[in-house]
Symmetry: C2
Amino acid sequence: MSNSITKLFNIKYPIIQGGMVWCSGWKLASAVSNNGGLGLLGAGSMRPHILAEHIQKMKTATNQPWGINVPLLYPDIEELMDIIIQEKVKIVFTSAGNPAKWTGTLKEHGITVVHVIANAKFAQKCEEAGVDAIVAEGFEAGGHNGREETTTLTLIPHIRKATSLPLIAAGGIGSGQAMAAAMALGADGVQIGSLFAAAEESSAHQDFKKYVVDSREGDTHLTLKKIGAVRLMKNNFFHQVIAAENNGANAEELKELLGKGRAKKGMFEGDLKEGELEIGQVAMMINEIKPVSKIISDLLDEYHQTLQAFSTSRFHF
Amino acid sequence: MSNSITKLFNIKYPIIQGGMVWCSGWKLASAVSNNGGLGLLGAGSMRPHILAEHIQKMKTATNQPWGINVPLLYPDIEELMDIIIQEKVKIVFTSAGNPAKWTGTLKEHGITVVHVIANAKFAQKCEEAGVDAIVAEGFEAGGHNGREETTTLTLIPHIRKATSLPLIAAGGIGSGQAMAAAMALGADGVQIGSLFAAAEESSAHQDFKKYVVDSREGDTHLTLKKIGAVRLMKNNFFHQVIAAENNGANAEELKELLGKGRAKKGMFEGDLKEGELEIGQVAMMINEIKPVSKIISDLLDEYHQTLQAFSTSRFHF
């Protein structure tokens, strides 16, 4: 048996690992693909020559399907796309931009294209652009996030009504229960970020992973809405942002406060005080740094238990 | 067959209608109870003598179980609770306060007590106070809302781990698919607000209901976080609040801007420009003013279709 997402990518489980900045290098992505999911390299934090290196390493690390996430606001995007096409990468997830821009070119080269959205208006644009599937990402997701603040629970049924394209739910999915919930809402698969950001194979700094494991409810918050909403973990930098926002700081002032390279500083170099720590709300439920194989087998166990529970009296009336 | 919520209240379906200000009078609550759910009067917008009137009307309108929602910050709460006890109301949902305050007194009088929470810290307090069940309400809910901004998708599994009390999910539930999702996450039942706020039997102003029906994605937003977060629909008043907040308005200034009686003005009197319009994020999915009987039968149809879909290939791999 299979579904539209496992068929589209030719994978065993409809579990996609988000292509996250500073976390999703070849080690993480190949581990996910080797364990039956779809691993994605996160090009957003890689210079073109670094991406080329990771592509080579992926090719030797796995013979299973894998892909690359490309934020469309990437500065050297022409160069990046050239590499992707030359290296005959088969799957590309685009995000943070208009799907009309690159979908045609990529499809001409036989690449399967998926676009990440946060509202139904963009579901329409995805259809027009001819993408093969959609990731719909809710408010609870880590990192950059939609203006509407629509949560996964309300977003997925809304997108499901707006389009018949294969649909991947993202944001707040950190367990097999949440995976079953997402699919009950109309998704055909899930994209999971935070759980994999804290995986053994993630390229994030060990101290950042520990910070995620130690975090509790209310420890992430959507901030910097005036310059592009991003979900961050609370730390010294976060509190500086909140103070500035509470005092009415404008976009220019916030950009200056943010500066450059803060996500690298926090997530890759482990500066937990001054870095920008991007993680999803589900971080509060992550209590252990686990290898990818265990993350996926736990997800599947919980998922199948949930499906079995649907035959119990709690669900029937 | 039954589950912990249908058993606790002796109702047919684990569907609770939220006790919303300006919407949840005896007409709405009795219709829900007469259709197999649990109707709740919303005492938050009723003076004590008005509540007493609604209680009398409920008693003649239904012989099925029903209850009252009492926000614990209600100014004349002693008087209100006296009425509830004297009238032998059997079920009380408390919210917006510490469950330790009233649970004991109510339980002494044989009343079933449920408390509304938005985080696991309060789940612990609920256990200590001896409540019979918990409503866990996520970020997508209309009206007043938790500081942590935890969404229903991440909140329910978190609360399910924190307590074994019967658990009702609230926030973002406007379809049978979302109901199935909430139960997959660990809930035993659901509390639904927005759908019932826009019901024919709701006491909200007709113009407010139409505004809800016409609303689209992104039209509700969590605001006034400095004085108590509340999810509002966008209108002239809302934009005034956002402008003030963007300019760094403090709590005092926001309180002055809010003034008194704005929710009544908007939701009950139909002043769509200057009123405070409380509704959940799921409003974007509400396209019709329906009678309660149809709302509940649609919910159940969608719920059972979703359960059936779990046996199809989309879910199996």
